[in-house]
Amino acid sequence: MKISKLGALCALAISTALSPAMAEEGITDTEIVIGNILPMTSSAALVGRAAHFGSVVAAAEANADGGVNGRQVVIRTEDDGYVPARTVQGLRKHIDEGVFGLIGTGAGAGTAAILPILEEEGIPAIVSFSPLQAAVDPIKPTVFMIGASYQDLLFAQLKYIHENHNPDNAKYGVIRQDDDFGKQVEEAFTRAVDAFEVDAADPIRYKRGQKDFGAEILKVRSNGVNVLIAGGVTTEIPTMLKESSKFKLPLQVATVPTSTLPPIMKLSAPYGYSYYSGDYISPMGSEGTAHFMEVAKASLSEDELKALNRYAVTGYVATRMMIEAIRRCGDNPTRACAVEKLESGEEFDTAGVTLPLTFAKDRHISATAVRVLEVDPVAGSVTPVTDFAQY
């Protein structure tokens, strides 16, 4: 037990050295802190990093204009590595170090995990990284969400396919991850199958991080599926397309919005499939994101620019809204005031990424209208094929 001395010294040293000067609710005379908890590492790092940089761009934009009523916006991001338990830890750290509001709330399960703490602490949050119905239904006093659910995003595509292509003997299939995100994907599938009264194959589940989809596509083939939800997060999608191309399967493919990520398009190019995607924002590179890209170029390094994708845009929009709400509170912003401004029904401009957004006291969700996009990886183009609509 003699080593316990060392432990004692460590404990004392740490407790005295690391105790931060606590800032009341993340605001000082010169700074205001907005937090993110995002998967900056792990298989979802591609999207987590982008979301972080989206926040950074919004803050840089505000700070270039002299900040929010004289205060500089500081973005502080905790890495949760795509693990909900670490999302909780990240939030605890934010609370401790002082945070005014929260944008990135981890992936779906992470958001679910921290909801009670957000409520307890009364932290304003705009969920945007990974839409989760439970975040706003029932309404939590300080939690808002922008963006349509994965279910709506996928259902919109299936509806478009059903109405415009309606293949002979349509048979629907889905390959989805075996987590909460995959659950939402499967719900969209079930909803479409019920709504269109079409034939369906049994859903196929795969473990997060799986690379090889040979067996899954062979099952799709032997089931005669011709409308497929490729429910991967990122690199799974090109792999599924590749295996399908081996047998030249005649497929209509619906994907989650991640399919508008440039690296994924590049990887999918050789296999001759175009696929659908759905989104509630304008695609990257379109006119709608022109302003965002301009600000980004002014505020990010070369390396950081490369990390941008559509998740940067949603992160940007949500952070921008939070900043604007704080600005509307004037010189002495409080959390309660920011929440009040958010749900006041007044419009928030998103710099053209979406139509101006609003929340209301009884509606903490916005930007739920979805547009179906056709992605042609060879041409590198993303073409809207429908207008924004509610699903």
Binding site: L46, G209, K211, D212, G214, L218, K246, K266, D303
Partner: protein
């Protein structure tokens, strides 16, 4: 039947990759008694360097392979010299832990150096289709299977007939005796790491061509664990066949049962096999002397 054959073929492809990595595990374990937890990361490093060489210098595929083999051997030797050799004489446990630390380091280094995005690994062998009866394979998938058997043959010949290969086997059996016979045990350790880096590196390159060059490539190292355990940790050839078995069982169980079984069928298989043969299918039982 069509489904069955294609599932088997698909299982053989991925099983070949597992098998090759498993050979790498076994070569190091057999000669030094260390299970190298950083094997997947070393493999990833080789694949990344090879990808950079391929895109920067636009080498033809055969030349790229030869250059990559050289690079891989060098990586293996450097890693062994920097991280493993200073630990010689320490408890095996500590050395295994060093490989775990090494794995964490390499993973981070690669992202710092190459970024977090996945990129296609374009190579001349890629993209064509081969039809064998009802079975359809991409040329690179066929390449994976051929590579597997080529490496199996090479490893067999090396350990059976070359002087140094025999010396390595001798070291594995009795280090002290090997020392007395004039075998340089340190050089053997470096050589084992080099061979493992080359072998696994080739698997990494092939995997990157089939899928993408991405920072989660290291995970295939873990996937190959069941293979090497199934075949026997001290049996490179057995480990190789273990890979094929795990690959095929994985795809068949996914094809006919589903429920995400593909990812854990390998683990279920090794538990069952180890109940019957505690040293793997082809591993040797250690003799206990009293």
């Amino acid at each position: 039947m069509d489904l069955f054959l294609n599932l088997v073929a698909s299982g053989l492809v991925i099983g070949s990759i597992y098998g090759i990595i498993a050979i790498a595990f076994a070569v190091i374990f057999k000669t030094t008694g260390v299970l190298n937890f950083a094997q997947g990361e070393v493999m990833m490093l080789v694949a990344y360097v090879s990808w950079s060489l391929g895109t920067e210098l636009s080498l033809s595929f055969p030349v790229l392979v030869i250059v990559s083999i050289g690079v891989a051997a060098l990586i293996g030797i450097i890693v062994e010299r920097l991280f493993i050799r200073p630990m010689i004489g320490q408890p095996i446990f500590a050395i295994v832990m060093v490989t775990i630390g090494l794995a964490v380091m390499l993973r981070s280094l690669i992202v710092i150096f190459w970024g977090a995005d996945a990129e296609p690994f374009n190579a001349a062998i890629e993209g064509g289709l081969v039809e064998i009866g009802p079975v359809v394979l991409f040329t690179e998938q066929l390449f994976a299977i051929i590579l597997f058997f080529a490496i199996m043959t090479a490893v067999f010949l090396f350990f059976r007939f070359t002087r140094i290969g025999i010396a390595m086997r001798a070291t594995a059996m009795d280090e002290t005796a090997a020392l007395l016979m004039g075998v340089d045990v340190r050089r053997i350790s470096a050589l084992a790491w080099a061979i493992a880096a080359v072998v696994s590196g080739l698997a990494g390159i092939t995997f990157a061509i089939m899928f993408s060059r991405a920072p989660d490539l290291w995970f295939q190292g873990l996937r190959a664990f069941p293979a090497t355990i199934l075949g026997g940790l001290d049996s490179p050839l057995g480990s190789g066949f273990g890979g094929l078995i795990i690959g095929v069982i994985g795809d068949l169980s996914e094809g006919y049962i589903g429920q995400g079984l593909k990812e854990i069928s390998g683990f279920i298989v090794i538990i069952i096999v180890l109940m019957v043969r505690p040293y793997g299918l082809f591993g040797e039982k250690e003799l206990e002397r009293v």
